[in-house]
């Protein structure tokens, strides 16, 4: 969701800082969540969110370079 969050009214340098710190914590948090999960359901949901996010970012990227 990098590009969607990027449209928020926050200065770029602050956005980069929040993204960097938050990204690390989110990544480790999701991994810990997967380790603690009993079923594949939360993993499947997270994967679906990731696909949507990647699709949005790809759309932004292809529009920007074309």
């Amino acid at each position: 969701m990098l590009n969607v969050a990027y449209s928020l009214p926050i200065d770029r340098d602050i956005y980069l800082l929040i993204g960097f710190i938050g990204g690390v914590l989110l990544w480790a948090g999701i991994m810990s969540y997967f380790y603690c999960a009993n079923t594949l359901k939360p993993i499947a949901i997270s994967f679906a969110v990731f696909i949507v996010s990647a699709a949005i970012n790809t759309l932004f990227y292809t529009q920007a370079i074309s």
């Binding site: 590009n3 980069l16 960097f20 690390v24 810990s32 380790y35 603690c36 999960a37 009993n38 990227y61």
Partner: protein
């Protein structure tokens, strides 16, 4: 928290912890010593090159740099690094890039001679494409007379421990350490899940009269809870420092569509990219430049980077810490050609990203702190090391019965317990050799580093063969105590008067480190005997 969730978290915590335990232990262990890197460096250096006074007449910096460069095959396509003397360090450290061979130096000189005979743009492109040199000289220089005291970087222990901390001294170790730190963050999170209900209730629980397994469990939990904010901070900042590339690449391509310059500007991370012009140019007065920046930015410049020195495209980067701040770093880029501080390269003041990252970096390195606070950091780092060993013993003790006599248990014991506890005698040997090897010995630094690795390997083999893990840990502690006791005796007998002389000349670190070595030796002997008694 559901029972299944906690059970899964315990499994993940145990297995991930076991797999990363050795590199994680080495990272924390070396990191604890890195907190006192400057002190250890002074302890090693000053005993061999003692000085009488801290306030000495200094040679003009330009003269010192010029006379040093005259003795070397200097390649000005790369940058010189200068670490200036401070109140705690009387010498100048200078790293000079040199040509790999005389042929390479001649080739570059021949191209410079073609200046004006071919179009300017083509000339600069061709000059930039010439093969880069890789060699450099690390020099220790007396600022009073410019005399080179050592050119074989003989005192590398402090630097070695620092490198061990952030890269384990392995190829691509920076990313490996980043990955280990990331999994450390994961085990901190799973640890919180496991202990969530008992964080306060079991805080003072230590069942000393129970089996080893329960004792280790209690030690692991209590130290883990006490050092939680500390561990969380290190895990987070460690990943940020070592794996930033994983965030830079998607940010560059997704947010900035490959526009690196915009990204670097927003982040406040400027870099000199200008290549040499091939035209000789006179350099500014470095002492005056330092004085100007010191006054205008309320700092004491400690480090200089001289890019393309003697060239028209020369840049000078000056680094220092602003006085009366939380270790706010001043980094000024000076363009020699027009005597300006280009705004494009001096962005740090404006970027809150840079300020935020710098703040986290300062908290990680404790470079804002005095000896007292760094000592608390040191104790906490040792606590985390103890927690890792307790975790390993817990894992082994849990499976001692079901896997008795199996190769799996022996390998786990050798790799984890041997790798962790073995780092203690390995470090002790490295300290002893750093003090006793002759300064002129060419392979001094390598011997110190290899000795660390060899002792670590021996300990891993010993742990593999020794079924009594408590016995092994106890022997590691006692052996380290003996090595450090020998080091203390050498310090007192051979260097005692020098260390006292240095203390009187206000260089307190060398004697401080010597006393600490003696204290640690006694402490290790006490713990070793105690563990052996419980065995």
């Amino acid at each position: 928290m559901k029972g299944d969730t906690v059970r899964n978290a315990i499994n993940a915590h145990g297995w991930v912890g076991l797999i990363i335990s050795v590199p994680l232990f080495l990272i924390f262990w070396a990191g604890a010593f890195t907190l006192f890197q400057m002190e250890v460096q002074q302890w090693a250096t000053l005993a061999h090159f003692p000085v009488e006074k801290s306030e000495r007449q200094k040679l003009p910096l330009n003269q010192l740099v010029n006379q040093t460069l005259q003795t070397l095959n200097f390649d000005n396509r790369r940058n010189i690094k200068l670490l200036l003397p401070s109140e705690h360090k009387p010498y100048i450290d200078m790293i000079v890039p040199t040509f790999d061979s005389n042929e390479q130096a001649k080739e570059v000189a021949n191209w410079k001679a073609k200046q004006g005979s071919i179009p300017e743009e083509e000339y600069l492109n061709q000059l930039a494409q010439l093969p880069r040199s890789k060699s450099y000289k690390e020099l220790l220089i007396d600022p009073a007379n410019g005399k080179i005291l050592a050119d074989n970087h003989p005192f590398e222990l402090a630097h070695f421990l620092d490198t061990m901390h952030y890269s384990l001294k392995l190829p691509q170790g920076l990313y490996l350490v980043g990955l280990v730190t990331f999994f450390f963050l994961v085990i901190v999170f799973t640890g919180i899940v496991i202990q969530f209900k008992n964080l306060i209730r079991n805080f003072f629980l230590y069942r000393h009269n129970k089996k080893t397994r329960y004792q280790m469990n209690d030690i692991h939990n209590v130290v883990g809870v006490i050092s939680l904010p500390y561990g969380l901070m290190y895990a987070l900042t460690g990943v940020m420092l070592n794996l930033s590339i994983l965030f830079q690449i998607p940010t560059l391509f997704v947010l900035y569509q490959g526009d690196q310059e915009s990204m670097v500007q927003d982040a406040g991370l400027a870099q000199v990219t200008q290549v040499i012009s091939g035209k000789d140019y006179s350099m500014p007065n470095l002492d005056e430049l330092i004085q100007d920046i010191n006054q205008s930015r309320n700092t004491s410049i400690q480090r200089l980077n001289l890019y393309n020195y003697y060239d028209k495209h020369a840049f000078i980067r000056l680094n220092g810490i602003e006085h009366n701040t939380f270790a706010k770093v001043i980094s000024a880029y000076y363009k020699v050609e027009d005597g300006s501080l280009p705004k494009k390269l001096n962005l740090q003041e404006e970027s809150r990203f840079y300020k935020g990252i710098r703040l986290l970096y300062n908290i990680h390195m404790a470079n804002y702190a005095g000896v007292d606070l760094r000592f608390i950091y040191f104790i906490l780092a040792m606590g985390v090391c103890g927690m890792i060993i307790a975790g390993n013993v817990l894992w082994i003790a849990k499976r001692q019965k079901e896997l008795a006599g199996s190769k799996t248990l022996a390998i786990a014991r050798g790799l984890t317990l041997g790798g962790c506890a073995g780092a203690i005698p390995a470090t002790a040997i490295a300290f002893l050799l750093e003090r006793t090897l002759p300064v002129v010995y060419t392979y001094r630094a390598d011997t110190v580093m290899y000795s660390f690795g060899i002792v670590l390997l021996i300990c891993m083999i010993a742990a593999f063969l020794n079924k009594q893990y408590k016995h092994f840990v106890s022997r590691c502690f006692i052996a380290s105590a003996l090595i450090l006791a020998i080091l203390s005796i050498i310090d007192i007998t051979a260097y005692g008067s020098t260390l006292i002389q240095l203390w009187q000349a206000q260089f307190t670190a060398p004697l401080g480190v010597s006393i600490s070595v003696l204290f640690i030796s006694i402490l290790l002997a006490w713990v070793g005997v105690k563990v052996n008694r419980n065995h």
